[in-house]
């Protein structure tokens, strides 16, 4: 019983991380119909920015705040000067653009920061273990999960109670109409894209101390995030929550339950969902 609880906790921490990455991805997809391949690259950049900030200032909290802000700006620039340019060429081109961008960021990161995994120091109280369920459990993992929940709640609150949230959700439905109601939709798009980037960057910062900072980190989480949005339903925030949770737990319990298939587990889940409900758990049927 105590074991089960521990594995459950393990799953939660990764699920939290995954949610922070995939929620931005799914939001951007829902609104702009663009599958952003560079989304995970923003996550990686978030981690690297934070790493550099830590090297120079030594202040983790500062990095936690500044790095997502930097990514917000970067995201806004990407949307304004790249994505919007190819918008009229269609989704294929937008997708290819983000793909190329991911490729460049990947190479750029290797160039600027090298290929060695880098460690990020965290405040010492976070580095400890605490005793729960009679076992030692790392505080940092609880911290990650806590942050993810807090951010998820904040986001839901923003999306479901504020005017901006209403606009964002309306623009998912029909953005021409939103524009005709006097709302500057391009700005909203830019904002959402930038916000997604910032969120992803934030996830990168908190992932850094847990998973180290290295050039492969974008790719490893990208595939998982894709699976999350396919399973959850493309464009659905609630779907992202549920799918992140499922995948986090699946990877955790999969280690003991299906050790032979650990590699293919999430693909099998995706295949299953696609057969049973091609539009994803929370997705809308076309």
């Amino acid at each position: 019983m105590q074991e089960v609880a521990v594995y459950f906790l393990h799953g939660l921490a990764y699920a939290g991380l995954l949610f922070l990455v995939s929620s931005g991805l799914t939001l951007v997809f829902g609104m702009m119909n663009v599958l952003n391949f560079a989304h995970a690259s923003f996550y990686m950049l978030g981690a690297y920015f934070a790493y550099s900030l830590l090297v120079y200032t030594g202040n983790f909290w500062l990095a936690l705040v500044v790095s997502p802000m930097a990514l917000f700006v970067l995201g806004a620039l990407v949307e304004r000067f790249l994505l919007r340019k190819v918008h009229e060429l269609g989704h294929l081109h937008e997708l290819l653009l983000t793909f190329g961008l991911a490729y460049i960021i990947q190479e750029g990161v290797k160039w600027l920061w090298g290929t060695n995994p880098q460690a990020m120091a965290i405040p010492s109280f976070l580095a400890e273990g605490v005793n729960i369920f009679g076992v030692t459990y790392p505080v940092y993992r609880l911290f990650v999960f806590g942050l993810a929940v807090a951010l998820g709640l904040l986001m839901a609150l923003a999306l479901y109670t504020t005017r901006v949230g209403i606009i964002v959700r309306a623009a998912v439905d029909d953005h021409d109409m939103v524009s005709a109601l006097g709302i500057r939709v391009p700005l909203v798009f830019m904002g959402v894209f930038a916000f997604g980037a910032a969120l992803s960057g934030f996830a990168g910062v908190i992932a850094g101390p847990l998973l180290t900072v290295f050039p492969g980190m974008a790719h490893t989480i990208l595939v998982d995030a894709f699976v999350v949005i396919v399973v959850g339903g493309m464009g659905s925030l609630g779907g992202a929550v549920l799918a992140s949770f499922i995948i986090g737990e699946l990877q955790s319990f999969g280690v003991i339950l299906f050790p032979k298939f650990s590699l293919a587990l999430i693909y099998m889940l995706m295949a299953l969902v696609l057969v049973v409900r091609p539009e994803g758990l929370f997705g809308e049927r076309q």
């Binding site: 594995y7 290797k110 995994p117 580095a127 030692t136 050790p259 650990s262 590699l263």
Partner: protein, 378 residues
């Protein structure tokens, strides 16, 4: 008159750049040392770095260019068994020479062995045997293995388990855990290790998979120590960024800074003076291998491939890592493996690093010629 061109086939860009760079530094230093003494047989050594990107097709394409356009006959490299396989195939076709100081797959000197390929280094079998020997010597009973889920991880684990069972039939293997290559979250695996109650954890993990395993194990309260293939890596230790997580664990390698031999002390001093940093791990491995190769050239008296092959077979080289013998039957060097416990206080770095090393002699861990599966065409 003339030079001997030595192409170094390493990843100099991409994910494994850091590995390739360090190997290359070792080779380059060896060339400097040789050239400072007048070269080999009166010819200077010219090092040609080649970026393989760890892609066999890229490696062979570039090597072919060197073979056909630049008349390069000598190649070396240490990263990526697949590059090794492709290269050994290529040099056989063109009758050139390829030697590796790092590619571990036993098959390269086993069923895939080639007359034109030499391995002046250890392989997975000997490396695992050495760790098994150490575990057996310490009388440890409860052992668990965790490895990356691909051919290397499996081979290394299989060899370890086989040897340990031989040496200590009472030892209990509590599990063989395989996780995906490039795994993100080790927490569930660490929990599994903790609940198994193992005394020692065998792991052939490398790169981030090793870093993360060590890093995530500590705050979860794992008490057992790790017996590692690749802990002798200063970059890994800095990335773990927690000395506590590594102290007491075991590193094993053909070369480490703390080898208590006079030749090693000389080598380290010279290297530190020339480069300003220590020739830890890969640099040392590459250096020794190149020096070994140079011995073969000296013995042959020229750098013609056929002569060098003949000369290298059976040659002995007494260097910074002890006495190495190049076996003729499979071109696998018979080398001692050095073991060291990680300690906080060390003369090299501020962070924890290898303590005093002890050797497990080559004859205890070698694989007999008949068992390698090598049928070399002469």
């Amino acid at each position: 008159q003339g030079v001997i061109k030595l192409a170094v086939m390493e990843p100099l860009s991409g994910t494994f750049k850091d590995i390739g760079d360090r190997y290359l530094e070792g080779v380059q230093y060896a060339a400097e040392v040789l050239n400072a003494k007048g070269g080999i047989n009166g010819k200077k050594v010219e090092v040609i770095p080649v970026d393989t990107e760890v892609k066999p097709d890229v490696a062979t394409r570039k090597a072919t260019k060197l073979l056909l356009q630049d008349e390069v006959r000598h190649f070396c490299g240490g990263t990526g068994s697949s590059v090794g396989g492709a290269m050994s195939q290529l040099v056989e076709q063109h009758n050139a020479l390829f030697f590796s100081y790092g590619m571990d797959a036993a098959s390269l000197t086993g069923d895939k062995c080639s007359r034109n390929f030499f391995r002046p280094s250890c392989n997975t079998d000997t490396h695992s045997y050495a760790l098994a020997q150490w575990v057996a010597d310490k009388g440890m009973q409860k052992v668990i293995c965790i490895a990356q889920d691909y051919s290397f991880g499996k081979e290394a684990t299989a060899a370890f388990v086989k040897k340990l069972k031989q040496l200590n039939p009472k030892a209990e293997i509590l599990g063989e855990i395989y996780h995906p290559l490039g795994n993100k979250d080790f927490a569930p695996y660490v929990s599994q290790i903790i609940s198994s109650g193992a005394e020692i954890v065998f792991t052939p993990n490398w790169g981030n998979d090793l870093t993360l395993l060590l890093k995530q194990a500590k705050p979860m309260g794992l008490k057992a120590k790790f017996a590692c293939y690749y802990l002798n890596d200063e970059n890994c230790i800095t990335a773990v960024a927690n000395d506590e997580a590594v102290i007491g664990s075991i590193a094993s390698e053909t070369y480490m800074l703390s080898i208590p031999l006079e030749a090693n002390k000389e080598f380290i001093e010279g290297f530190k003076k020339a480069k300003g940093y220590y020739p830890a791990w890969l640099r040392g491995k590459a250096y020794i291998a190149v020096m070994f190769w140079a011995e073969a050239l000296k013995k042959a008296g020229n750098d013609k491939v056929d002569d060098v092959i003949k000369a290298w077979e059976g040659l002995t080289y007494d260097g910074p890592a002890g006495k190495w013998v190049m076996r003729a039957c499979d071109h696998q060097a018979q080398v001692p493996i050095w073991m060291a416990e990680m300690v906080a206080q060390n003369p090299y770095f501020k962070h924890a690093f290898v303590g005093p090393a002890t050797a497990i002699p080559a004859d205890k861990i070698g694989v007999p010629c008949e068992e390698t599966g090598c049928k070399m065409k002469k």
